[in-house]
C-alpha cells in the first residue's frame, strides 16, 4: 500500500514506523516551522531509525507538496497534524481532488469530527477514542480495553527496542 502521512508528531511518527516495518511505501510530510526553537530540533525526530520511506518538508495542504509526497498514486492519506482545520483541508484535498480511496483525518473537536464524517470524510477524535477506551478499561467492557491495550503494548515494546532516528 502507498501511504501519505501529513503531520509527523508522536502519532504520525509511530504509525509511519509501523506501516514501514510491514513493508508499505510511506511518505511523511511535516511543515517547515519557522520558529527557531523548533528549527534546532530534528524535523522527523519521531520516526524510528529504521524508517525507509520518504520525508518531505512542507505544508500538507499545498497541492504541490502533496504531489511531491506521491499523492497521485497513494492508496491512503492520514492527516495527523496538531490542527483540526489543517487535517480537514488536507483530507478533503486528498479525497475530492486526488481521489485517494482511504482518507482519515484526526479531528479532536468532536463536533467537527461528526460534521465531516456525515459529509463522507473519515474522521476520528482523539478525545472520544481515548476517552471511550479508558472508560472501557475501567468498567463495562473490559474485553475491548484489553484487546486494544495488548496490541498497543506489543507495538510499544518493538518501538522501545529501536533507537530514535535523531535527537
Amino acid at each position: 500500500m502507498n501511504v501519505v502521512i501529513v503531520g509527523c508528531g508522536r502519532v504520525g511518527g509511530f504509525l509511519a514506523g509501523l506501516l514501514d516495518s510491514e513493508g508499505h511505501r510511506v511518505s511523511v510530510v511535516d511543515i517547515a516551522s519557522t520558529s527557531p526553537a523548533r528549527a534546532e530540533r530534528a524535523w522527523f525526530q519521531h520516526l524510528p531509525s529504521t524508517f525507509k520511506g520518504e520525508t518531505i518538508l512542507g505544508d500538507g495542504t499545498d497541492l504541490e507538496v502533496l504531489r511531491q509526497a506521491g499523492i497521485e498514486r497513494a492508496d491512503a492519506l492520514l492527516a495527523l497534524t496538531e490542527g483540526d482545520n489543517r487535517n480537514l483541508m488536507a483530507a478533503q484535498i486528498a479525497q475530492k481532488i486526488f481521489g485517494v480511496k482511504q482518507v482519515i483525518a484526526k479531528v479532536n473537536d468532536p463536533v467537527r469530527a461528526q460534521t465531516y464524517r456525515e459529509m463522507g470524510i473519515n474522521t476520528f477524535s482523539r478525545t472520544t477514542i481515548l476517552g471511550t477506551l479508558l472508560h472501557a478499561m475501567l468498567q463495562e467492557d473490559r474485553e475491548v480495553g484489553e484487546v486494544l491495550m495488548r496490541k498497543a503494548l506489543a507495538h510499544e515494546a518493538e518501538l522501545v527496542h529501536e533507537p530514535a532516528r535523531a535527537r
Binding site: 483540526d84 483541508m89 475530492k96
Partner: protein
C-alpha cells in the same frame, strides 16, 4: 442585512466597521480576548469572544439567521472549515472565504466554497493591467472542472487584430464565449471579425492558459 464576520484582524475589523456604517447588523467572532476587547471598545458590543471554527460559537452568533458569513482570518484552512461548518450546520445561505494563498482559490471552489476573495489575486490583476502585456486576465476558475474563464483584450499589431475568430490558433478544448465591444456583450462565431479593443471571453482548460495567451496576445 445580518452579517457574521469571522476573525477581527485588520480585514475583519474594517469590514465590520464598513458594514455597520452602511446600516447592516453585524456580529464579529474573535478568538483572541485582547483583540476582541480592542474591537469592542471601538465598534460597540457586536463582538463575540470565541473560536469561530467551533459549531457552538457559530450557533450563538446566529449563523442560522444570518444572510451571509464572511471568514477573514489569516489562516486558509480555518477559513475553509468556518465556511463549511456554517453552510452545513447552520445552513447560512451565503458564505465567503478570504484566501491568503491564491493557489487555494481553486481548492476552495472544488470543496464547495464558491465565493472567495484573494487580496493577492486582486493586486496581481491590478498590476497585470498596468503592464504592457496586460489585458490578459484569467478571471475565474470554473467550479468542479479544470477549466477557467479568461478575458483578453485585442491590442494593436497583434496577430488576431482584424482576423476572424475562426482563425485563432486556440488550443483544443478552448472556446470563445463572447466579445465585449465598446461596453456591449455580443455573440461571437467563427466568422466574427476581431477589432482592436475587443475584450474576448475565452473558456479554456486551465492547463492551456499559456497557449490561449499566445493565440490572443501574440
Amino acid at each position: 442585512m445580518y452579517f457574521v464576520v469571522a476573525g477581527a484582524g485588520e480585514v475583519g475589523f474594517h469590514l465590520s466597521q464598513a458594514l455597520l456604517e452602511s446600516g447592516h447588523e453585524v456580529t464579529v467572532i474573535e478568538a483572541d480576548r485582547r483583540r476582541a476587547n480592542f474591537v469592542q471598545e471601538r465598534l460597540g458590543s457586536i463582538v463575540m469572544n470565541a473560536p469561530a471554527d467551533e459549531g457552538r460559537a457559530q450557533m450563538e452568533a446566529g449563523c442560522s439567521r444570518a444572510d451571509a458569513l464572511i471568514a477573514v482570518t489569516g489562516d486558509d484552512a480555518k477559513n475553509l472549515v468556518i465556511c463549511q461548518l456554517a453552510k452545513i450546520r447552520c445552513r447560512t445561505p451565503r458564505v465567503i472565504a478570504r484566501v491568503n494563498n491564491p493557489k487555494n482559490e481553486i481548492v476552495f471552489k472544488t470543496l464547495g466554497i464558491d465565493e472567495t476573495i484573494s487580496s493577492t489575486r486582486v493586486l496581481m490583476n491590478v498590476i497585470e493591467q498596468e503592464l504592457p502585456s496586460g489585458g490578459f486576465m484569467p478571471l475565474m476558475s470554473l467550479a468542479g472542472s479544470a477549466n477557467e474563464l479568461i478575458e483578453a483584450e485585442i491590442a494593436i499589431g497583434t496577430p488576431p487584430a482584424g482576423k476572424n475568430v475562426g482563425s485563432l490558433r486556440l488550443p483544443s478544448g478552448a472556446l470563445v464565449g463572447g466579445i465585449i465591444r465598446k461596453g456591449k456583450l455580443m455573440h461571437a462565431d467563427d466568422d466574427t471579425k476581431l477589432e482592436v479593443g475587443d475584450r474576448v471571453m475565452v473558456f479554456s482548460p486551465t492547463a492551456s492558459e499559456g497557449e490561449v495567451r499566445k493565440a490572443l496576445m501574440g
